[in-house]
Amino acid sequence: MIESYLRQSALDYLGLAARAGDAPAGSAVIMAEKTLPAAVNLRGDKENPAFAAAVLEALGLQLPLEPNSVAAGDGLALLWLGPDEWLALAHNAPPEAEAQLAAKLRAALGDLHAAVTEVGESLACIHLAGPRARDVIAKGCPLDLHPRAFGGVGHCAQSHLAKTGVLLHQVGPENNGAPAFDLYTRRSFSDYLWRWLEDAGREYGLVVVAP
């Protein structure tokens, strides 16, 4: 029997835990790997009231219909990815949480034409925060993340960052102009993205911290 401690995140081999320190006060940008998110990709017809009702029943969250908006609940977030696509996300969940989340959704959806797919294992999550976090992201991402354009906390968008696809989720408040983002990328690209971001943030004194 393999214990769950044998799970490895995408960036495990970098030994980030050993490098992570406390961010000095006033750090311009900090970065951490958030390990092993549980995530379920959800496809369905938003026009069908039964679909939204089933999602509400399973997750306790209203299906977000506004593009790039996020419905957030207790330890769970539901991100709008497209007109018929959403992503349910949970952090710091046990290994079986992803399958349970999917099972709950499938049970609630019943015979509705929808697709519930576990995808958390395919993701890596890099947390980037601080007054210069936007500047670091802007080096490789063509999106305008200014609060007036992006919408601020509780908004998400899919784009590219350098040469990888990313899902950006602004999780932290402006907090004196120091926003926080979760950047999701495909697991195999995370090594490249991590190194790219560390290099991009060098100019601002990026600090690696514990998740």
Binding site: R7, R43, E118, K139, H146, A200
Partner: protein, 1002 residues
């Protein structure tokens, strides 16, 4: 003192900060705040280079981006950079600069012999001389290349770092002169997100060189300082100094180059040298000012001939005397500004030569009142002095200004400050396809109509040359741009200033010389490319009348300065010679960049190990620890083979192949594309995208499928499994996963929106490992709760189960021809499960094998690899895979397969190939012929697609695409190789070289 020509007071330089630098190896001192050109002039250095073609001595002409002559090589190899304008290089301590295009020195240049041969070097010289014979071009090119170009490239890679960033704003303001500052303030105060770009390190533009100017009744530079402070305090305004907006693309997308560290003596390690800004603006206000036009007169290129505005800059901004005794030569009022400033700075103004019959305008009047010697209706018709102006000859003009009359008078001087009028800097406006109109009064092209939404021009760039108008237009454009972005106009009033421009003027495009044009003296139009008025006339005589043709034939305006000073003069001279109205001749196309940009900014940080993503599987670190060598498959890095000590690739691959067939091999197959397919119409969907039938595949069963493009050519292949009633998992080739998903989504969304199917990529959700070999079942049985008996899990079947305690999907499918299980586990458990299998597999001698062994194993079985046996021109029939092409249903590409061309007997078809000498391995890519001729060309039949040593067959094996190959079984073909060897080989009866009955799968 820092230079004998430094004025005792004044200027915006820091007198307490002396900086040493070298030019051509000689040490000089300058001041912080100097440009390199200013520091050279402060030390009395005028001669800074030799011209491109004639190697004529050249001096500093301007004080800005328009400089055609003072192009220097700056810095030590490999940090050296050629063609930097001394007028734009900020002086830093220890700066090293050198002249270009001169050998052995600028003072004595061997190449100057070219000027003796000048009459043999007319425009079009290269076209005329080096055309024949064509075969000699390679020889000519060698010499031309050496003679061409001005500077030297670094000999090693650039050690500096560069960066790129995206940026967004409501209002981009280009240029921080009076108009730009007023625009930025107006837009910023309204609350808009503003980016203000200034190429200089100081804000103020022309105001930096005009200390007498006043705004709102106070010194103009006080207003500039207040504006800068206010902009800095506005949270949504970003001021980028030392930044050139070099390119205007469609939809208000702009390229900016920021010089981050060049002005720092010790650049900090954490900063990039330069940064490319890729800026998207909603509105743009171009406040780029204007560039003074020189006059085209005889030997107007002699060191000491400068624009009048440059003289003003050197005196007022840099506190440098560009000469001791000057002649001002002007055709408008603004030239008098230089005369007045020189007078005030103690430089003797020998005369103001004015082509206008009656000098008029406020500055002219002040000069007259001061009692300066003014020679009206006159022109400089000759300049004496080769390496420095010594004297000029001045004569009166006739009524047309085409000839001089009377007796010339000689005036001694070492400086000629000349002004031929002003050209608005319309480059960005025109790059964005803005339309120009000719302003007859001001004698220049001015913006007429922007062709892109949200673009405005203000101030001198818009033909509004007076300071009052600049401020007014700037404020209005800034407020208007902000309002168009939804920000209410702030009510603040525009700053006020006097408003006089440089009128009146008398626009003469070509000043007569002592001799007829082209004799002895040269009237330069484009100093950087050594193009003269006589060259333009020659081009016209030879039949080039379009200005674009004249430009290319003479190369006028084609140098690194892109004709910022000379283009309108060239157009004027051409118009006059053609007897056409100037605007009818038109302007040449404006293209990016406005000023040259260094290549580094386009690379940015995407170099070395950040060049491209390297995709790692969950077991990558294990492969590394176990000595694997890797190969790139798309962006994936896959284990290629695992050499043990003393093994070469051949030995390692043979061992891996043998071990797999003899006992047990394990492969990291994570990179295989995986697409999750769900929905009631999933089977129908698969039935349409694959060539074979899918409606009857049972739950828990797997099937191999071939996917075609619409043209009938093989696009991808892979095994798809029915996981549940409405749930399938498709696998794709590693390199093709994204393209296949896009292809499928395309059909689903555009062709078959009625199908109820959802696709989700799950490639990375799973770590995939393949156990292959006779002992695969024995090992897996020890590790799983799933029933692996052939009855429960036959070939091409699937079962869920736990492997090493981890939830897994087990597929009994085989790419090796051995008993094989493809195991998918959650990616995060990949490493742990792999290690568990390795440990438990020790008793079977479990052997990790890489992609090379995988290729050999599949080739032994005659299995194709899409992209190796296929190249986008191969159909399933060409592959002899007609068995997988349904005749009873429709699928993508089916109709194309019925084209007559598809049935031609000489199509290239896939066959097995066996060399006559079993020890010889054909090189992949080798061409195949029926008959070897003494030398090429010989009719080629096809080529080898795959070729390996097969340890299991004990001989070499190969696959090949051969014309009519299926009908050639048993024929002998030949592979003539580049090294002269000819390898005979026989077309095999079957491409399945090993276990043709498939016994080992059972």
């Amino acid at each position: 003192m820092t230079g004998r020509m430094r004025l005792p007071q004044g200027g915006l330089v820091k007198r307490d900060e002396t900086l040493s630098f070298t030019f051509n190896g000689k040490s000089y001192k300058g001041l912080a705040g100097d440009s390199l050109a200013a520091a050279l002039l402060a030390n009395g250095v005028h001669l800074v280079g030799r011209s491109f073609k004639y190697h004529r001595p050249r001096g500093i002409v301007s004080a800005g981006a328009e400089e055609p002559n003072a192009l220097l090589q700056v810095g030590d190899d490999p940090r050296t950079e050629p063609n930097l304008k001394a007028t734009q290089v900020e002086l830093v301590a220890g700066l090293k600069a050198a002249a270009q295009n001169a050998w052995p020195s600028v003072d004595f240049d061997v190449g100057a012999v070219n000027s003796l041969a000048a009459r043999f070097l007319p425009s079009g010289f290269y076209y005329k001389t080096f055309m024949w014979p064509a075969s000699a071009w390679k020889t000519y090119e060698h010499f031309i290349r050496r003679a061409a170009g001005l500077g030297r490239s670094p000999s090693r890679r650039d050690p500096d770092r560069y960066d790129k960033t995206f940026a967004h704003c409501d209002v981009l303001v280009v240029g921080a002169g009076p108009a730009g500052l007023a625009a930025a303030l107006a837009a910023g105060r309204a609350g808009a997100r503003v980016v203000l770009v200034e190429q200089d390190h100081l804000l103020g533009g022309a105001l930096l060189s005009q200390p007498g100017a006043a705004i709102d009744g106070k010194p103009a530079l006080d207003w500039v300082a207040a504006a800068e402070a206010e902009l800095a305090a506005l949270p949504e305004v970003r001021v980028l100094k030392r930044t050139v907006c070099h390119a205007a693309f469609d939809h208000n997308f702009f390229g900016l180059v920021e010089s981050v560290t060049d002005h720092l003596p010790q650049p900090p390690e954490h900063l990039p040298r330069k940064r490319l800004w890729k800026l998207r603006a909603k509105q743009a206000v171009f406040c780029c000012g204007a560039i003074e036009r020189p006059m085209v007169f005889a030997d107007n290129d002699r060191p000491g001939v400068m624009t009048a505005s440059a003289v003003r800059s050197y005196i007022n901004r840099y506190a440098v005397r560009p000469g001791r005794r000057a002649v001002v030569f002007t055709n408008n009022d603004s030239g008098y500004g230089a005369a007045l400033d020189m007078e005030a700075a103690g430089i003797e103004v020998a005369a103001v030569v004015d082509t206008r019959p009656v000098p008029a305008g406020p500055l002219s009047e002040r000069a007259e009142a001061l009692g300066l010697r003014i020679l009206s209706d006159s022109a400089v018709i000759a300049v004496e002095g080769k390496k420095r102006v010594r004297r000029v000859r001045v004569a009166e003009l006739d009524a047309e200004g085409k000839n001089w009359v009377g007796a010339p008078q000689v005036i001694d001087c070492d400086l000629v400050a000349n002004s031929g009028g002003w050209n608005p800097t319309v480059h960005l406006f025109c790059q964005a396809k803005g339309r120009l109109r000719w302003d007859d009064v001001h004698g220049c092209f001015v913006p007429d109509k922007a062709m892109q939404w949200g673009q405005h021009v203000a101030g001198a760039a818009n033909g509004a040359f007076g300071l009052g108008a600049c401020l007014r237009e700037g404020a209005a454009a800034g407020a208007g741009a902000a309002a168009d972005c939804g920000f209410a106009e702030a009510s603040s009033a525009a700053p006020q200033a006097e408003n006089h421009d440089f009128l009146p003027g008398r626009w003469l495009w070509l000043i007569p010389g002592e001799q007829p044009l082209g004799r002895k003296a040269k009237h330069f139009v484009d100093q950087q490319n050594d193009v003269t008025a006589a060259d333009l006339r020659l081009a016209l005589r030879e039949g080039y009348s379009s200005i674009e043709h004249v430009k290319r034939y003479t190369t006028t305006g084609m140098a690194t300065d892109q004709g910022k000073m000379g283009n309108v003069n060239a157009i004027g001279i051409v118009a006059e010679a053609l007897d056409r109205h100037l605007p009818d001749v038109g302007v040449t196309t404006f293209r990016p960049p406005y000023t040259p940009v260094t290549f580094g900014i386009f690379a940015g940080r995407d170099v070395d190990d950040l060049l491209d993503p390297v995709r790692r599987t969950p077991m990558h670190a294990w492969h590394e620890r176990n000595g694997a060598l890797f190969e790139d498959v798309g962006q994936w890095r896959r284990a290629w083979y695992y050499p043990r000590e003393g093994e070469d690739m051949h030995a390692a691959v043979n061992r891996e192949v043998k071990a797999t067939r003899d006992s047990l091999g394990i492969l990291d197959a994570t990179t295989l594309g995986k697409i999750d397919i769900q929905g009631p119409d999933a089977a129908t969907f698969l039935d349409r995208v694959y060539t074979n039938g899918w409606l009857k595949l049972g739950v828990g069963r797997c099937r191999y499928g071939l996917m075609l493009k619409e043209d009938g050519m093989v696009m991808d292949d892979g095994v798809t499994t029915r996981l549940g009633e409405q749930h399938y998992l498709m696998t794709t080739t590693s390199g093709n996963a994204a393209a296949v998903l896009a292809h499928l989504e395309d059909y689903l969304q555009t062709e078959w929106p009625d199908l109820r199917v959802y696709l989700t990529s799950v490639t990375e959700q799973f770590a995939t490992m393949t156990l292959s070999g006779p002992n695969a079942r024995s090992l897996l049985a020890e590790m799983t709760d799933a029933d692996l008996s052939p009855g429960a899990l036959p070939h091409m079947a699937f079962t869920p189960g736990k492997v090493a305690g981890v939830p897994a999907r087990i597929f009994r499918i085989s790419f090796t021809g051995e008993l094989s299980y493809e195991i998918n586990v959650p990616a995060s458990f990949g490493m742990a499960v792999w290690q568990a299998l390795m440990t438990a597999g020790e008793r079977y001698g479990i052997t990790p094998y890489g992609t090379e062994a995988m290729h050999v194993l599949r080739a032994e079985k005659g299995f194709i690899i899409v992209g190796q046996e296929t190249d986008g021109s191969v159909t399933p029939l060409d592959l002899d895979m007609g068995w997988i092409v349904s005749k009873t249903k429709d699928f993508i590409g089916k109709r194309s397969l019925t084209r007559a061309d598809m049935a031609k007997p000489d199509r290239k078809q896939l066959v097995g190939l066996l060399t006559s000498d079993p020890q010889v391995v054909l090189p992949e890519g080798a061409q195949l012929v029926e008959k070897v001729l003494p030398q090429p060309p010989m009719p080629m039949l096809g080529h080898v697609t795959s070729s390996y040593w097969s340890p299991n067959c004990g001989r070499s094996i190969a696959l090949a695409l051969v014309k009519g190959g299926l009908a050639r079984k048993g024929e002998t073909l030949y592979a003539p190789l580049a090294d002269g060897r000819v390898i005979p080989c026989v077309v095999a009866e079957s491409p399945v070289f090993f276990d043709p009955e498939g016994e080992r799968l059972k």
